[in-house]
Each structure stands twice: as structure tokens, then as C-alpha cells.
């Protein structure tokens, strides 16, 4: 199985467990890799370290819930496995430059900052060697 296929399998595992207490060791186990090898392959294939992908996806889904539901901010924080509302707020602000209550009270969040699930076509593009940056 190619690395892209295996990392898509790992992404399936991550996406199915965004609200569970999973860790990088669990992700590695889902594709029968050591943590060292998994981190290396995941970073190469997705251009994100695995823990970074997990946190960004949790924050994206949390942001969508903030915008589209009436769920309490504290409940959203715990749903996505943040240890405390303050931790959630700090991580949210780092990613979106807004705190959760600002989004809840109607401030527009830059939708371009939302990171949706990585799909097969996107991983193929990332690994195709095509660069969007001008070559030197």
C-alpha cells in the first residue's frame, strides 16, 4: 500500500476520533507504524505533523459548532478534548486571531483559516511535485 493510502487510513482514524482521547501513538498503531516512522511519513505526505493536524481539525470543527449551534463554549471545549476553556480559547485565538466568544457574538471568522479534512485528491496534489510557489 502506498504512503498516501496509508496516511489516508490514518486520517480516517483521526477524523473518526476527533472527540476522543487519541494520541500520536494511537494514530501510528492504526497503520502499524512506529511513532518515529509514522511522524516522518505523515509530515512528508500531508505537510503537517500528526499532532498539529489533529489539533487544527479539532479547532476547525469547534469553530463550525460555534458558528452554527447554540452549544455552550465550555461544552465545545470539552467535546474537542481541551483540558480547560482557557486552553481552548488560547489555541483558538492562535489559529483564528479571535477568541471563541467573539465568534459566538457574531464576529466574522476568516473562512480561509478553517482546515477541513484532507481528501485523497489533495494529498495526491501535495505529493505530485507541483509547487504553487515560484521556483528560484
Amino acid at each position: 500500500m502506498s504512503n498516501i493510502c496509508l496516511m489516508l487510513k490514518a486520517i480516517d482514524f483521526i477524523e473518526s476520533n476527533l472527540t476522543e482521547d487519541i494520541c500520536v501513538a494511537d494514530m501510528a498503531e492504526s497503520v502499524s507504524f512506529s511513532q518515529f516512522h509514522f511522524s516522518r511519513v505523515f509530515s512528508q505526505t500531508t505537510h503537517h505533523p500528526p499532532y498539529d493536524y489533529l489539533m487544527r481539525r479539532r479547532l476547525c470543527e469547534a469553530a463550525r459548532r460555534l458558528m452554527k449551534s447554540e452549544e455552550k463554549i465550555i461544552d465545545i471545549a470539552y467535546r474537542y478534548k481541551f483540558k480547560a476553556p482557557e486552553t481552548f480559547s488560547r489555541a483558538f485565538k492562535r489559529m483564528y486571531n479571535l477568541v471563541p466568544c467573539q465568534v459566538r457574538s457574531g464576529r466574522q471568522l476568516d473562512q480561509r483559516l478553517l482546515m477541513d479534512r484532507f481528501e485523497p485528491e489533495y494529498l495526491e496534489l501535495l505529493n505530485s511535485g507541483i509547487s504553487l510557489r515560484p521556483e528560484a
Partner: protein
């Protein structure tokens, strides 16, 4: 996999350390990841020290790459990488280097050649060989031993390294 099982006294190393996810920057497979950069910094420093380094290095041309798991490694994937050399404590150790003391322990020593160096040998050792052989990790580290048999990342096909994994018998 047929490792040698040996017992070693504690090993005192001097070198440089990185903590984090070494594959976060640049190409995870090239010498430009954090591990590669760590080696480049170490070699540059040794070069600058010149004759002084010969006075504190116990074994010229022999280097260690130690991977150390920290309590949060399983959760975040971050770990410590230390690269360095065995030292002679009678020599003056440059301030830029840190000391790492590996404890006295039994090791399973695996000789890796060619493509196996770049394979997922941690999985083969920890998840496959270790449980089958009736061992468990003695300490949360392992190290790769580099000597004249290692020809460079661009000549892996002609290279050999040893991987040392600290072990206990499972019943101990």
C-alpha cells in the same frame, strides 16, 4: 532479526540536543530536517574546536544518535534527539556541548545494512521482535551507533549502522 545481547557500562556523551517533532520543518527524509541540522551543527562545532576536540573525544570517528522518549511523546509525537560522541572526562568539554549519561544496561544490538537503515526498524524491533523474544524496554531511549561503516545519507546502500535498544527480560 537476530540481535546480539550485550551488557554495557554507562556511556558518557557530549553533544547537542533537539526536542520536538524533527520532521516539522522541510523534507522529513533529507538532511534538512531537524535531525540533519543537528548533525550539521555538531560537525561544524567539532570542526571549529579542531585539536581541542581530540583531547575530550574518547573515540574518534564514532558518533551516537540517541532518541529519548519523554512523558508526552505518545501524545504529541515530540521527542528528544541527541547527537554526540563518547568523551574523555579528563579533557575540557566546550560549553556549547551538553553531557548525556546513558545508564548501565543490557542492550539488544541490531546491525542494519543498506535500505534497512531507512526502514521502520523501530516497529520491527519494539512491536515485533521484542514481544516475541520475551523482552521489554529497560529505558525510554535507543541509540544509533555510527562509525566508519556509515558512508552518508546519500550512500545508504553501502552503509552499516548498529542500533542499540536497552532491554529487560519481561519477567524481571
Amino acid at each position: 532479526m537476530n540481535p546480539k545481547i550485550i551488557r554495557k557500562e554507562s556511556i558518557i556523551l557530549a553533544g547537542l540536543s533537539f526536542f520536538g517533532n524533527p520532521f516539522e520543518s522541510k523534507d522529513p527524509w533529507s538532511e534538512e530536517n531537524e535531525i540533519g541540522l543537528l548533525w550539521q551543527r555538531l560537525m561544524a562545532l567539532m570542526g571549529q574546536k579542531g585539536e581541542q576536540s581530540k583531547r575530550f573525544i574518547a573515540r574518534e570517528g564514532v558518533f551516537y544518535e540517541v532518541h529519548i522518549r519523554h512523558p508526552d511523546t505518545s501524545k504529541t509525537g515530540e521527542f528528544e534527539v541527541f547527537v554526540g560522541a563518547e568523551i574523555n572526562l579528563a579533557g575540557e568539554i566546550p560549553l556549547e556541548l551538553v553531557i548525556k549519561i546513558l545508564p548501565q544496561t543490557c542492550y539488544a544490538v541490531f546491525c542494519l545494512e543498506g535500505k534497512k537503515i531507512d526502514s521502520d526498524w523501530p516497529y520491527m524491533i519494539y512491536q515485533e521482535w521484542m514481544p516475541q523474544a520475551g523482552y521489554r524496554p529497560a529505558f525510554p531511549f535507543s541509540f544509533q551507533y555510527y562509525d566508519h561503516r556509515f558512508k552518508g545519507m546519500d550512500k545508504l546502500a553501502n552503509s552499516v549502522i548498529d542500533v542499540y535498544v536497552p532491554i529487560h527480560k519481561s519477567q524481571e
